[in-house]
């Protein structure tokens, strides 16, 4: 019983401990990029500046909702990566700190739409296709959005659910702007007949295609290229028109005070040529935005595809409502088989 009391007391002590302040040679980050590429960026940043990065990798949705949940006492200085929509949501709620980084002039002005966040890479939407399946079934490759509706693809097309995937919510909001709301939803209702179910993460689309679980996956170019580089027999096709999403990073308002300068240095570093070229060394094959940076081998330059440029601010505003409508009208959980 004495031991028990001791333990109980020590637990109470543990509770009363308050976290120690971070040393000023550190910066803490929630990162929504992939686990494998992050060490490259953070280690290079530490080599260049001596600032150590502590990070947690989360999905873009987890990252945004964590920042919202922690708003009374923010735990990190930076939200790093993921599509712009999640970041715009944070901006709207007043949870970001305005910062104009050094070297922003090297980023094409059309992508710099807010002082609260910094764009640092571009993701082009594509169809990832499994070459083996198409050869075996002697089917022509799909080239347009409507090609995907062919019944021959039934249960062989994979797309993540817009409520859990930034790539998919971008498809949803962009499609609505492209076709108009009614026609876009008509499209998704037909599309629902083709997919076996909506997956959780968009990254599961290229992997399902690589492993032959699906013939076509809706994903972005760099994710597909990564699998191609690993040796899987897959390819990407850009529909006409395709959509793009900007990868964003931002400083969290009222984050750890002594990390603010380090956070600014990190943002500066990631848009510098040195930082942007890390997309090649890390193997992430992301499309850099700095005009002087090099592009990973195998990536198609943006100029070679037809892009429908959706209004990103509008997308961010309509996102919640459209996803709700998507759940109600397209992916109704009561229509289970």
């Amino acid at each position: 019983m004495k031991k028990l009391v001791c333990l109980v007391l020590s637990l109470v002590l543990l509770v009363s401990c308050v976290s120690a302040f971070a040393a000023s040679k550190e910066v803490s980050i929630y990162a929504a990029l992939t686990e494998d590429e992050l060490p490259t960026y953070f280690n290079s940043f530490e080599e260049a500046t001596g600032i150590h990065v502590n990070y947690v990798r989360l999905s873009a949705g987890e990252m945004a909702s964590r920042v919202i949940a922690e708003k009374d006492n923010p735990q990190v200085s930076i939200v790093f990566g993921g599509g712009s929509e999640g970041i715009i949501t944070l901006e709207k709620q007043g949870l970001l700190y305005p910062y104009t980084p050094n070297g922003i002039d090297k980023i094409p002005a059309e992508y710099v739409t807010s002082e609260y966040w910094t764009p640092f890479y571009l993701a082009i939407l594509c169809f990832a296709v499994n070459n083996e399946w198409f050869a075996e079934n002697e089917q022509p490759l799909p080239e347009t959005w409507d090609d995907l509706l062919d019944p021959v693809y039934k249960d062989m097309v994979i797309m993540a659910h817009p409520s859990t995937s930034g790539v998919s919510s971008n498809i949803l909001t962009s499609m609505v702007q492209l076709k108009g709301e009614d026609e876009a939803f008509e499209y998704f209702r037909k599309f629902k007949e083709i997919v076996p179910y909506f997956a959780k993460a968009s990254s599961s689309a290229p992997s399902a295609v690589a492993l032959g679980e699906a013939a076509v996956g809706l994903t972005v170019d760099s994710d597909t290229l990564k699998y191609m580089n690993e040796g899987y027999d897959i390819d990407f096709i850009f529909p006409n028109p395709t959509f793009v999403d900007v990868g964003a990073m931002a400083i969290v308002a009222n984050g750890p005070e002594d990390e603010l300068e380090n956070a600014k240095a990190f943002i500066d570093y990631m848009i510098s040529v040195e930082g942007q070229n890390l997309f090649i060394t890390s193997g992430s094959t992301r499309m850099p935005l700095n005009v002087d940076a090099d592009i990973s081998e195998g990536l198609k330059p943006l100029s070679s595809v037809t892009v429908f440029n959706a209004d990103r601010v509008k997308s961010g505003e309509e996102r919640g409502r459209l996803i709700e409508k998507f759940i109600q009208e397209v992916d109704d959980a009561s229509e289970l088989h």
Partner: protein, 565 residues
């Protein structure tokens, strides 16, 4: 009239017992301390979740989320989906767990040591790895479906796979709960029946099985609740079979809607609280005492056909587990899955480099949490079964709540409870340790309570009469009898800490990275072989720690004779 008098008598005897407790300061302090801790780490976060569920974004009281959920046909379906899945999974898990536990403890089948070790595998690895090997084995490119039978386009995602994986993942919990109770049933009651000429089946039906009922019900309840709140399996393999835990996650992370997600979690708690209330109601009416302190004989191992049947069943299930884990092991040593099956160590090098720091931290935090969880759990089991005091029921119920709530939402509850003073814990290790302790102590409570129900109070009374104090009796008499549930509880808390996925999504902090988050990250980007390698490293770490825990528990709880020198 008579019943009224009886109730009055009961009330006054409860009061008397409480007065006795008042005279035992250590016991009283323990009760108060435990109640205080539960209030801070269980009730307060859950109150925050209730508060979130019943307020809107402007912070005003609102029923909009409740009415929306109740009025929506799709949410009703998802709710029924969850219940159906949990009911089936819990039934199957309990049956399989019972067969294993009975075979290992009562009829002592061949290879029981092996089965007993193997059965720990499914609880000591992150669940989505099981899902992964199912995809590899039975998916469209599956080694078995496509390679062996030439079946193309086999859709592996959905209800059947989900049931299968959940049963494999959860039946060991049923097994752990049941071995405690089955090994504690005194075989002299069975022998007595045997001497009177009863058949083995008859004995099982009328003696052994009814005596093990508390364990059966605990096992069912635990697996039911685990299936209800499970996040990672439905997320990876559920396909279009939506469950409430997934909906809660989607609402929080997809719509940034903490309020709606919290309300969904509260709806999810409803069946759990009902099941729990039924269990207590039923258990309170019966006696299961067989451990009486009277001398018992060593059990005669059974030699009959029935052992062969049990052996075969256990062997088939075990073979399946080995197959699933074998696939993971092969995957870990394979260069590129699906293309190049040559041997490679590169994934181990990579996984070790990426996650060694996280592995160390996960092990440390789980190791801190496990004994606290085990001791607190046993203490709560002891107090709620043996003592009568105000707040006993609150102690019982609150200890199950954190176990039953979906991990994502518990994380939100912990953040909103501990993100601002007076109790500022976010970003520290303490918040993770607290979540591990309070989320995982249910197994020690459940298996501890069901074992205690079997132990005759007179054993403890004998000790007290001989002059031992309450604490002395607890430590030297009761606790050694509780060795098995105590051990199970610690092991369970440890491995659940090491493998927690959804609970820690909102609690991992930059300074305290956890290894499951790394596995999840690798899994998300389909670095399956790297994930597999990391899981193999994790399993090895956990196995070593479990062996050490076993040694420690045996040493500490060895019944010792008093020395009079």
């Amino acid at each position: 009239m008579a019943s009224k008098a009886a109730r009055k008598h009961l009330k006054s005897s409860a009061w008397k017992e409480f007065v006795i407790i008042l005279h035992q300061p250590v016991l009283l302090l323990t009760i108060i301390a435990i109640l205080a801790i539960l209030a801070i780490f269980v009730l307060y976060p859950i109150l925050r979740i209730i508060n979130l569920g019943f307020t809107n974004e402007e912070g005003a009281a609102s029923l909009e989320y409740l009415t929306y959920i109740l009025g929506s046909r799709s949410y009703r379906t998802v709710f029924l989906n969850s219940i159906r899945l949990a009911a089936i999974v819990a039934l199957l898990s309990t049956v399989v767990g019972y067969i294993f536990a009975y075979g290992v403890t009562r009829i002592q089948i061949r290879g029981r040591k092996f089965f007993n070790t193997l059965i720990h595998l499914p609880i000591i690895s992150p669940p989505f790895i099981l899902a992964l090997s199912i995809i590899f084995l039975f998916g469209r490119q599956g080694i078995i479906t496509k390679g062996l039978f030439g079946i193309k386009n086999n859709n592996v995602y959905g209800f059947t796979s989900l049931v299968f994986i959940q049963v494999i993942s959860f039946f060991p919990v049923a097994y752990l709960t049941l071995t405690g109770i089955l090994s504690a049933i005194d075989s002299s009651v069975e022998d007595a029946a045997m001497n009177m000429g009863a058949s083995r089946l008859h004995i099982f039906r009328t003696v052994t099985f009814p005596l093990s009922m508390p364990g059966v019900i605990s096992a069912y309840l635990l697996t039911f609740v685990q299936s209800l709140e499970d996040f990672s399996n439905p997320a990876v393999i559920g396909g279009d079979y939506g469950t409430l835990a997934i909906e809660a996650y989607k609402t929080i992370t997809g719509m940034y809607d903490l309020h709606g997600g919290s309300m969904l979690a509260l709806v999810l708690l409803l069946p759990t609280v009902c099941a729990f209330a039924l269990q207590r109601y039923w258990l309170n009416k019966k006696s299961f005492v067989t451990v009486t302190g009277k001398p018992t004989q060593a059990r005669q191992p059974v030699r009959s056909k029935i052992t062969v049947v049990f052996f075969l069943f256990c062997a088939v299930v075990s073979a399946f587990i080995i197959l699933l884990y074998g696939t993971v092991l092969v995957g870990a040593f394979t260069k590129t899955w699906g293309i190049n099956y040559s041997f490679s160590m590169q994934h181990f090098t990579y996984a070790w480099g990426l996650a060694k720091d996280a592995l160390r931290k996960s092990t440390r935090l789980s190791l801190i949490a496990a004994p606290i969880s085990g001791i607190l759990g046993i203490a709560i089991a002891y107090l709620t079964v043996r003592k009568r005091f105000p707040g006993r029921r609150i102690m019982q119920i609150s200890s199950l709540l954190t176990f039953a709530i979906p991990g994502t939402v518990l994380g939100i509850g912990y953040i909103s409870a501990f993100n601002t003073p007076p109790i500022l814990l976010t970003g520290t290790a303490a918040i993770i340790v607290a979540a591990f302790v309070f989320r995982n102590m249910s197994v020690s409570i459940e298996s501890g309570s069901s074992t205690l129900l079997q132990i005759d109070r007179s054993i403890e009374e004998a000790s007290t009469i001989l002059g031992a104090g309450n604490g002395e009796t607890f430590r030297r008499v009761t606790l050694p009898l509780l060795k098995q549930p105590f051990f199970s509880g610690i092991v369970f808390a440890f491995v659940r800490g090491m493998t927690a996925v959804s609970t820690v999504i909102f609690l991992v902090s930059p300074k305290w990275p956890l290894v499951t988050a790394k596995v999840h990250g690798l899994f998300d980007i389909s670095k399956y072989s790297d994930a597999a390698a990391l899981v193999v490293i994790m399993i090895l770490t956990m196995l070593i720690v479990i062996v050490l825990i076993n040694i420690a528990v045996t040493l500490i709880l060895k019944p010792r004779a008093h020395r009079f020198d």
